[in-house]
Structures are given as structure tokens and as C-alpha cells.
Amino acid sequence: MKLHELTINKANELLKKKEIKSEELTSALFNRIDSFDGKIKAYVTLDKDRALEAARLADKKADFTQPLTGIPMAVKDNICTKDLKTTCCSKMLENFVPPYDATVISKLKDTNAVILGKTNMDEFAMGSSTESSFFQVTKNPWNLECVPGGSSGGSAAAVAADESLYALGSDTGGSIRQPAAYCGVVGLKPTYGRVSRFGVAALASTMDAIGPITKDVTDCAIVLSAIAGIDSFDPTSSDIPLSDYLKCLHDELNGIKIGIPKEFLDNDVIDKDVKDAFLNAAKIYENLGCICEEISLANAEYALWAYHITVAAESSSELGQYDGIRYGHRATKYEDLKDLYKKSRGEGFGTEVKRRIILGTYLSDAQNYDKYYLKAQKIRTLIKKDFENAFNKYDLLITPTVPTTAFKIGEKIDDPLKMYMNDLYTTPVNLAGLPAISIPCGFSDGLPIGLQIIGKAFDEASILRAAYAFEQNTNYHEKRIKWEEGFSDEL
């Protein structure tokens, strides 16, 4: 096995046994990036010198009891990294260098993690294809004509293309799970409040979640253990104790009750292959001794709209701080203060961001606030209730992660409504603040299909266990990408 193909778990074993060095591993990853990322375009910033320095430090300390020590990783570009550009892939923050680390980054740095660089994303995480990035379009490693999904498309593509052992993403309506599904990797959106949001540029503060994108479920458990927990800098972080996410990884699922929301299968947006792969996954669970039953999430059909109203309204407030006054893009020619705001923001933000800010500002003004935002919050309460009822009877819910596989680059960028349908199965989870994972569960025309497993709040352990059991009994996660011509697979 080549070094860049290693999982965290395996690399950690080798580091412990002194069979490899972190520096060697890190160099191998940069070589991989050098030869592949020109095509994939997963990274927007690389931090080679400091990464190698961190790797050498890890080698010098030679203490690999913490599994992330010396492991190279990638960070979505909306997560602040001290002294390293954090752009949210927007012209607005093209040259922004934060003077502080997000809490998740401090935690990783404490374990001596090696940060390779920052990954591409939809501008300010607004999108499902990573096409709205100011810098570049990331390609799906399984098919370069397709999108990697989004908004954490760079992170998912980097992991899928073995350009990083793992990556961090953020998920407000599916932005970790959907790209993980499209790229055939594992992506976990933790419970709201499980992982600190401090230092992560907000999209919608009531729904944003930070989580891992990894090659397998074990790695996912490892990263979650390292980044989760209460944080005095995030008042919404929870003090509910963490489980031992590694200990819960076994394939004993006998008697686990799984609900399957029927609304997610009986609709006209789902691909046949996706539905088949999903039904096959359900069968696998039944074979493992689970009881799978159809249930109804009656209000889920309103979720997408409640979600978009909530995100638009909240993000129009969150994005006000990008005004070109203290940092970020500032217009050079302007008449007066009002013009300075108009031009700086007009030039700094891309189309989708402007679309949502305008919509959000309209939805949350004094006349419309009750009509739209408050109504959306009421729907949100109903959806939460639906989930609560379901979890009174079931331990887990499973759904396809996305109704389709990855679509072609350019196919939906001018049709926001079609684009939004990508998030049909993921947004209800964010509205309810629940944890959910996406794991590979099949292929269609060479493109991966994702299975979403949703759990009770703060019960990431059950999700990870079910995901692990699935992985142990299938081999979708082991299927390698067949690189097309022009790619060198040799180092």
C-alpha cells in the first residue's frame, strides 16, 4: 500500500511501530497533491513548510498515543487557521489571514496534527457543488466531469483522491454528507453543539456543524473524539459527556430498530439506482439482525423550504460583518459611506451569496419576519417533533444521503431550485440539530452512492456503530478510483 492511501488508523499503527515517519508521510501527501491536484483542484491554499515542520516535530516527540499526531489533514477554508489564509472561497476574504485558530484547529494542533492546507468550498458554504467558489471548480475524483458536491467539496475530493488522510468540513444543510456521498467517502455531521463552532465563519448559527470527512468509519470515530466536546468559547457547545467513539465500533446490531422514512423513497426526484442501492443497504441491515420498518416523517416535505428561509435570514445577518471596513475586500473607488458598502459588498460577494443575502434581508425585515422566518421556525418545531416521535420507537433512521449521484459541472449552477433539491434528505437533520453520517453504499455508472444514518441527539455512538457494521460487511469503501489517462498513479 502506498503511503497516501493509508487510513489514519493504519498510519498511526505504522508511526507507533516506527515503520514510517510523519515527515515521510507528509512529503508523500504533498507529492500526491503535486501530481493530482492540478486536475482535482481540491486545495486553495497549501502550507507545505509549516506542515513539514509540524511533521518533524511529531517525529521528534515520537509519541503517537494520540492517533492524530503526525497525521496529515486538510481543512475547509471557512475554518479559521492562525496565520494561514482563510478565505471562505470568496473574493471578500481573498487575503484574510486570521490572527486566531478555530477551536477545532487548536484541538488538532494540540495533538500535533499536520495541516496540509485549506480546501475549496462553495463561497461562504452557500451551495451544493463547490462551483460557487471564487477561486476554482473542484472535480469529482470519480469522474472529472462531475461536481464533488458541496459545500465541503474540496475536503471530500481531497480525501477521495488520497490527497489527504482526512479533512474537516462544515455542514449546515448537508455540506459534509452530500459531498461525502458524491465522492464515496465517510462524512459525519455531529449533533448541533457537539463540536465547537468558534472560529468557523457562520452560515446559519442555529444549524452549522463541524465534522470529519474520512476514508472509513474508524477514522471518523478517531477524528470526532479529537474535535468534540464543550468549549468555553462557544456558548452553544454542549456539556453532555462524550462517548468512547472507538469502543462502540463493533458489528453487533442484533435487535436494533431502524426506521425508513417513506417520504424519502416515494418521490419523483430519486434516481432508480440510488433507491436500489438504498434498499439493498436496508436488506444488509436486516441480515445483520436489525428490524427495519417504514415510518413517516410527515413534515419533512416542508423541510427544504423552512431550511432555505432560515439559512437566508440568518446568513444575511451573519454576513453583514463583511463590510470592507476592518478587513476583507474594500472597493477602491466610492462616493461616500453608503457607496463604500455597496461597492465593497457588491464586488466582494458572488451571485449565490448576493441572492441569499437579498432574499434573507427581505424575509427578515419587520413586515415579513412573522410571515416567513417565524413560520419556518414553526415548521422546524414540527419536524423536530416528527423525529422525536420516530426516535421513541426506533434507534436509528436510514435514508439515501442524496436522491441522485454527482451531477455534471455546470448542469445546475444556473438553476438554484434544482440545486436545492440536492439537500432534500439532509436539511431536515440540520433543522432538528441531529447527528447523521453518510457512508458509501453502492455505485451507479461509476459514481458513488451514499447511505445516510440519522441518530438521536448526542448519540453519535449508535450511528458510528451501525456505520461500522455496514462497512465490515460490505466493501464499497475499499473500491479504488480508476484514474483516467493522463494521471500518474506512481510517486
Binding site: 486566531y100 442555529t206 456558548p235 445577518s317
Partner: protein, 472 residues
């Protein structure tokens, strides 16, 4: 037609906490601009507000002192607007569920007690400051003040004159300074006041259209602006015009208000990053127990307990430090009125003269009382005492030491005084003659001469007796 003036005040008060409301930055001023800033108060990506618990305590204390109901649960919201002094493009404030409601302040216009209602009092963060440099085409932004905790106190439209508004502000300031949550210095910006004012025909029950006045720099400006605006609105109404709802700016130099902007709708949204503020009864009572006796109650007690005239009691209780000082003095001296005279005359005038605050007084209340005892014992004269007092103020030395060092002990030796008196009589035959001719005033002159001779140390009662005996 006669009109009735309806006034409501919106007062913003800075709380004296050591750190800002949502971050650990110092609230201190006077350093280099932007020296107390961090990612949180600068509105940088991903920064989240962290509630400063003392702000809740200070605000709840203010609410209780203003007789408000404290909400067991209150929340924070965002007021969204763009301005360079507002880093996040929203101010975190309490709009939907404020901390306190339904309070009042008592005032006494024309000796009649009157309650001015307080509709709500809520917590919020201050904005930064723009600095316009003379002649430059740009403004500079100082964000040291951004995130300093404020309470906004919104009165009911219960005031009917500039005088009532002035009394309300004064009492508000006294109460908040008393409970030590704010220093309420309007000139320094730690208390800011906007006026809502409307007129209605006398006897009418409905309110007229109100106008908001901003940019008031002092209590005096508030009074002047109200008086001006009463006149302006009256003239409009009397000439058949109508008032437009708008915000006007007070121009202190010119003494009038000018149009600033029309009615604006603010965009509020819930602050999603903060848990609600929960104040259970036990915490509330703990906060209440920290509220000292408030000025009105203390004034009444001073009148009763120390038999002070109302004037003395109100002057002394207007400042908590002064009243505390006074009470400490009274512990060591038997006559409260004498202490009151010294505090109100000598102490107040030397403070005014030097511009020094009573906070930094060098001598203790007990030392002042000791000095009063020395007068009673005849160790020093009342006149000398004034010099001793000045010395205490300047050096902080005890009156005993000052008297000893400067040799100010009163001369009460009969023989010594008699010989000095004889000398003065011999040197002033004309005055002696005048006295004998019935001009009693001449006696005063002779006493003065003896005092001059003894540098004021002669015991005045003894000098009087001796002189009269010698002259007769």
C-alpha cells in the same frame, strides 16, 4: 389653546464592569485607539459572544433599584444595521424579551411627589467611535468602546416639563451611582439620553405625534432642547400645521433642533448564539441584598435620625460617598448638625476649589471628628480649625500632629492673655474711648487686635471676658 407637553426619555448608561459584555477585553478608556480589541469585539469570522456574568448582575441590580420586575428569562436579539462603528453589522440587544419592566423613579416637582414610570430596561453592547479629523477626507474608527456593556432605560411618557425631565435624570443618575453600577457622566458619554416629545391640547387623552431628539451632551442640554422643542411644536400647531414623526438633532451651540432623519424601521432578529438569561429568585435576592440604602430613603432617615434640615439631608445624600463619609464622622462626634455644617461648607468648598473628587480624600472621617472635638475642648479655636482642616486636606496628617507641629494650640492662660490685652488697650486709646462712648463695635476691633497679636491662637471667649473686665 393651551398645550400639554408629553416627554419620555431613553437613557443609555454604561456599566462599570471591568471587561466588555461578550469578551474579555478591558473597558478602560484613554489608551491608544483600538488597544482593547479581540476577534470577538472586532466581529471577525466565527467569533461568538460570551456572556459576562457581572453585566447581568449589574443590570439586574439597576433594574431592582429602579423598582422593576426582573424577568426570570430574558433573551438577546440582534438589531441589524450598517455603520463603521458597528463591527458585526448588528448590535446585540434585548428586543423581544428584555431583562426588566414596570419600574419607576420618584421625583418631587414643586414639592409634590410624582412617579415616572420605567417601561423597560434591557442590556446591550455599545458601539465604537468614529473620529473625524479636521480637514481629512476620511474618518478613523476606534473600537475600544465596541462591546462595552450598556443598559437602556426607557421611561413611560410620564414627564410634563423640562423641569420634570431634569429631575428624573438627576434621580436616575444618583440612584445608579449609588448602587455603583455606573458613573453616569453625561459629559464623558457614560450616560446618553434621547428625548421623545409631543404636545397635545390640554385635557386631551390622545398623544400627539412625537419627535425624537438626539445628540444631547449634558443635563442642561436636555432641559434646553425640551424647552426649545415645546416652543417649536407649539408654533407649528398654532399655525394650523402638523408635526411629522422624525428624529431631530440638538445643536448646542445654536440652541435649536434640526431635522436628522425620518422614521426608520429597524430589522431585529433573534441572537442564535446565546442561551437565554435565567435569573432565579435566589440569584435575584442575592443581587438585591447588595443594593445599599437608596438616596430617597437615606435622606428621610438623615432628617429623622440626625435631625438635619431637609436641605442638608438632600445635599449630603446626593452622593453615596459623601453620605458615607458623613455617617462615619457622626459616629465619632455628638452633634450631627455641626458635622453637616463642616461637610457642606468647608469640605464642599475645598472640593469645588480644587476640583478633587471626594473619593480621593487624604484624611479620614474620624480625623475630622477629632478636630471638632479639639474645638469643643478649647484646644484650638474655630478659626484656627479652618486652617487645620485645609492642612488635613492637603497633607492627610492628623489634626493633633498639625496643631503640634505648627504650634497652633489655643492660648488659654489668664495672665498671658491679660498682659496682651493690656498692651492692645494701651496702643489703641481711640478705640477704647469709642467703646466707653457706647460704640460696642469697638470691642470687636480690640478682640481682632488681640487675635492678630496671638496669630489667632487666643481663646476667644476668654479674650472677650478679659477685655470687658479691663475696660470697665
Amino acid at each position: 389653546m393651551n398645550y400639554e407637553t408629553i416627554i419620555g426619555l431613553e437613557v443609555h448608561v454604561e456599566l462599570l464592569t471591568k471587561t466588555k459584555i461578550f469578551c474579555g477585553c478591558s473597558t478602560e478608556f484613554g489608551k491608544e485607539p483600538n488597544s482593547h480589541c479581540c476577534p470577538i469585539c472586532l466581529g471577525m469570522p466565527g467569533a461568538l459572544p460570551l456572556m459576562n456574568r457581572s453585566v447581568v448582575e449589574y443590570a439586574a441590580k439597576a433594574g431592582l433599584a429602579l423598582n422593576c420586575d426582573i424577568a426570570e428569562l430574558s433573551r438577546f436579539d440582534r438589531k441589524n444595521y450598517f455603520y463603521p462603528d458597528l463591527p458585526k453589522a448588528y448590535q446585540i440587544s434585548q428586543y423581544y424579551i428584555p431583562l426588566a419592566r414596570n419600574g419607576y423613579i420618584e421625583i418631587e416637582p414643586n414639592g409634590q411627589k410624582k412617579r415616572i414610570g420605567i417601561r423597560i430596561m434591557h442590556m446591550e453592547e455599545d458601539a465604537g467611535k468614529l473620529i473625524h479629523e479636521e480637514g481629512s477626507a476620511y474618518s478613523l474608527v476606534d473600537l475600544d468602546r465596541a462591546g462595552v456593556p450598556l443598559v437602556e432605560i426607557v421611561s413611560e411618557p410620564d414627564m410634563r416639563s423640562a423641569e420634570e425631565a431634569w429631575l428624573y435624570l438627576n434621580n436616575l443618575k444618583t440612584i445608579l451611582s449609588y448602587i455603583e453600577v455606573s458613573d453616569c457622566k453625561m459629559e464623558e458619554g457614560s450616560l446618553r439620553c434621547d428625548i421623545n416629545i409631543s404636545l397635545r391640547p390640554e385635557g386631551s387623552k390622545e398623544f400627539g405625534t412625537k419627535v425624537e431628539i438626539k445628540n444631547l451632551g449634558s443635563f442642561r442640554a436636555v432641559r434646553r432642547a425640551i424647552e426649545y422643542e415645546e416652543k417649536r411644536q407649539k408654533e407649528i400647531l398654532e399655525s394650523g400645521g402638523s408635526i411629522t414623526q422624525e428624529t431631530r438633532r440638538w445643536d448646542e451651540a445654536q440652541g435649536f433642533t434640526t431635522f436628522m432623519r425620518g422614521k426608520v424601521e429597524n430589522r431585529y432578529s433573534p441572537e442564535p448564539n446565546m442561551a437565554p438569561i435565567i435569573i432565579k429568585d435566589d440569584w435575584k435576592e442575592e443581587i438585591r441584598s447588595k443594593i445599599p440604602e437608596l438616596p430617597n430613603a437615606r435622606k428621610a432617615r438623615f432628617m429623622q435620625e440626625y435631625s438635619l434640615p431637609e436641605y442638608d439631608a438632600s445635599v449630603i445624600t446626593a452622593s453615596k460617598i459623601l453620605a458615607d463619609f458623613y455617617e462615619e464622622c457622626v459616629k465619632y462626634y455628638h452633634d450631627p448638625k455641626v458635622v453637616s455644617n463642616w461637610v457642606m461648607v468647608e469640605l464642599m468648598s475645598i472640593l469645588n476649589e480644587t476640583g478633587q473628587g471626594i473619593k480621593n480624600l487624604k484624611f479620614t472621617p474620624k480625623q475630622l471628628s477629632d478636630m471638632l472635638v479639639m474645638i469643643d475642648k478649647g484646644t484650638i479655636s474655630g478659626k484656627i480649625a479652618k486652617d487645620v482642616f485645609r492642612d488635613m486636606f492637603e497633607t492627610g496628617k492628623s489634626p493633633e500632629d498639625i496643631v503640634k507641629e505648627k504650634g497652633l494650640i489655643q492660648i488659654s492662660d489668664e495672665a498671658e492673655l491679660e498682659s496682651i490685652a493690656q498692651k492692645v488697650i494701651d496702643n489703641n486709646p481711640k478705640s477704647v474711648q469709642d467703646y466707653k462712648n457706647g460704640k460696642k463695635k469697638a470691642l470687636g476691633f480690640l478682640v481682632g487686635q488681640i487675635m492678630k497679636e496671638t496669630k489667632g491662637k487666643a481663646n476667644p471667649q476668654m479674650v472677650n471676658t478679659i477685655l470687658i473686665r479691663l475696660l470697665d
